[in-house]
């Protein structure tokens, strides 16, 4: 009696599942990685689902976690703000990098009585974070922004305490422009800071800056805009002071020389109107990944790009977009 009942249930369940799988052709893809582009990706996945029915689950566990997950093939794709290094690439043969959008890292500050847009040069930023410039009224700072009256407040430099792609972009830039920085600190997702304090995540650093008179730190452009924290215009390699914005980020991406596999950090751009502290964020996919993933990538690189501006991400410049699409076309 009991068994027949159980049997019935099992049969119905089986029938139901087979019905379901035949009825809807929807596929599910999974991805994991960077937190920085996560808001944009979530929006993309929502719209893509509405359009095609394909569902994509994404977990923002951090770039490092994304690389580990895609290496272990526990997800269909990974996402990272920093390109994979050679060792990581060797552990995951067949992976290619697809840039999706670019982002800017801004130098945000809290100086009593001073609004956004002070001018900073590459070497001044490096020396502030090395602890060599300690007061806001230091001649090297004041002479860059004539007409602004700086107080003699002490400078409190803040950095990310957790490993992050944001730190990688910022320290890569400083290593390119300052020999001292390259020798003493170097570049990476997590480096050995000699001065200041560390905050966890963009919110941690932003809280430190907001609460400390004289504070300075680096955070993502979108985060600084949303939280109304003033940030500086930074001199680029062509000698122009560029205020970070979506447009100047795209311009920077245009002026960067990209490696054929896209594994380049595009800081210190040669573009005259490009903001120098910028980087691409990547999706990491295997050459033989599911066909649905290829379709999604094509959509993200074309229709998806128009979503970027609203969320303060810089869309890919036309030249990069073309190359990225060509790379996607090589997927199986």
């Amino acid at each position: 009696m009991f068994f027949t009942k159980l049997n019935k249930i099992a049969v119905t369940a089986l029938a139901l599942t087979s019905l379901l799988s035949v009825g809807a052709q929807a596929q599910t893809l999974t991805g994991a990685g960077a937190t920085f582009p996560a808001p944009l990706y979530q929006k993309w996945f929502q719209q893509y689902k509405a359009k095609t029915g394909d569902e994509i689950n994404y977990q923002a566990i951090g770039s490092g976690g994304g690389i580990k997950a895609v290496t272990a093939k526990s997800v269909d794709f990974g996402a990272s703000d920093a390109p994979m290094n050679d060792t990581e690439l060797k552990n995951a043969p067949g992976i290619i990098h697809i840039p999706t959008v670019a982002g800017a890292v801004v130098v945000a500050y809290n100086i009593p009585g001073i609004g956004p847009g002070i001018h900073l040069t590459q070497d001044v930023i490096a020396d502030i974070f090395l602890g060599k410039i300690t007061k806001w009224d230091d001649a090297r700072i004041t002479k860059l922004s004539p007409g602004t009256k700086f107080p003699s407040t002490s400078i409190a430099p803040f950095h990310r305490s957790d490993g992050s792609g944001t730190t990688n972009i910022f320290t890569t830039f400083l290593s390119q422009v300052s020999g001292d920085w390259k020798d003493q600190v170097g570049a990476g997702k997590s480096v050995k800071w000699t001065k200041g304090l560390g905050g966890k995540g963009n919110p941690g650093v932003a809280a430190l800056i907001k609460q400390t008179e004289g504070g300075i730190g680096y955070i993502e452009l979108a985060y600084a805009v949303q939280n109304v924290i003033p940030y500086a215009a930074v001199r680029n390699s062509k000698g122009n002071f560029i205020y970070p914005s979506v447009a100047s980020t795209t311009a920077a991406a245009e002026g960067a020389t990209l490696a054929s596999d896209f594994r380049t950090v595009i800081t210190n751009t040669k573009a005259a109107q490009g903001y120098p502290i910028t980087g691409f964020t990547f999706l990491l996919v295997y050459r033989d990944s599911k066909p649905e993933l290829k379709k999604f990538l094509e959509w993200a690189l074309t229709d998806g790009q128009s979503q970027a501006d609203d969320l303060l991400y810089a869309k890919l410049p036309a030249s990069v977009q073309k190359r990225a699409l060509a790379a996607v076309a090589t997927l199986k």
Binding site: S190, L197, K200
Partner: protein
Amino acid sequence: MTTTPINAPAASPASPKKLVFPKASFSILYGDRIYAAITFLASLSIFGIIVWLAVQLSQASGASIHKFGWSYITQSNWDETKDIYGILPYIFGTLYSSFLALLIAVPISIGSAVFLSELAPKWLRTPMTFLIELLAAIPSVVYGLWGIFVMLPWLKTHVMNPISHAHPHNKFALWLFDVFFSGNPYGPSMLAAGLILSIMVIPFITAVTRDILKAIPRSQREGSYALGATQWETISQVVFPYAKSGIVGAVMLGLGRALGETMAVTMLIGNQSPGTPTGISFSLFQPGYTMASALANKFTEAAQGINTSALAEIGLVLFFVTIVVNMAARLLVFYTAKDVAGGK
């Protein structure tokens, strides 16, 4: 009327004088043994988990142990870009912040526990006990957020800034300032971490201490009063010595939480080793790093290989520090309890 044993089969009337034992049921024969086996397995599982954890951690940190040896815990350089790892400042930060926490928490906790168990009127006792237990249940991230947005600004304007603007005159004060109050009063610091930890462990120590004091037999107190002792004398001469080992245990429970606390500390300690050559500073205004907060900060983005291995070794060292501290506490209880009659 003959009395037959309960459960006895009715086979006795032929020879009533013969003793009749109840037929042993399955539960009588094996029940205790099964029960003992189950509880043994339960206790074994705890032991097994600890061993398994130690083995796993050692395996994961093998590469780092092999490469750095003892220099891992004696060096102060943690540099991912060069793949050199030493955690002396983290070990120091863990111990120092926990020490500060206990320094503040122990007197307050014991004081409030004594009040609650010995002195408080009944109408106050229940709500206060409830509040303390409530405090213990608040998640640590909430303490951290409260710390950032409420405690830090207050601490900065009312404690750190006045102290760092003071000008000490005599030699001792100068020395004191140099050792304990050097550095910029940014806010996040050893002081902030120690304070938040103390707030977090106070409810634990208070609740356990109160239970211990309540468990002391009434006769002990009555005997003391009968001999003419005052309330203070009773509490200090009779109640405390009786509860000594239990109170040490309560403090160790608090210390255990302080050593391993991660989220709130990460949010308030500044996550930066002090700029001294050893990465160690006793200054309360300097930022610091604890082992738990270093793990929380660095693990998600760690590179594969030696970096991940070095992080796993932090876990291993924290594991051993906790074991050593707990063993030290046991020894302390053992030796202090010996000279108190009925102390255990």
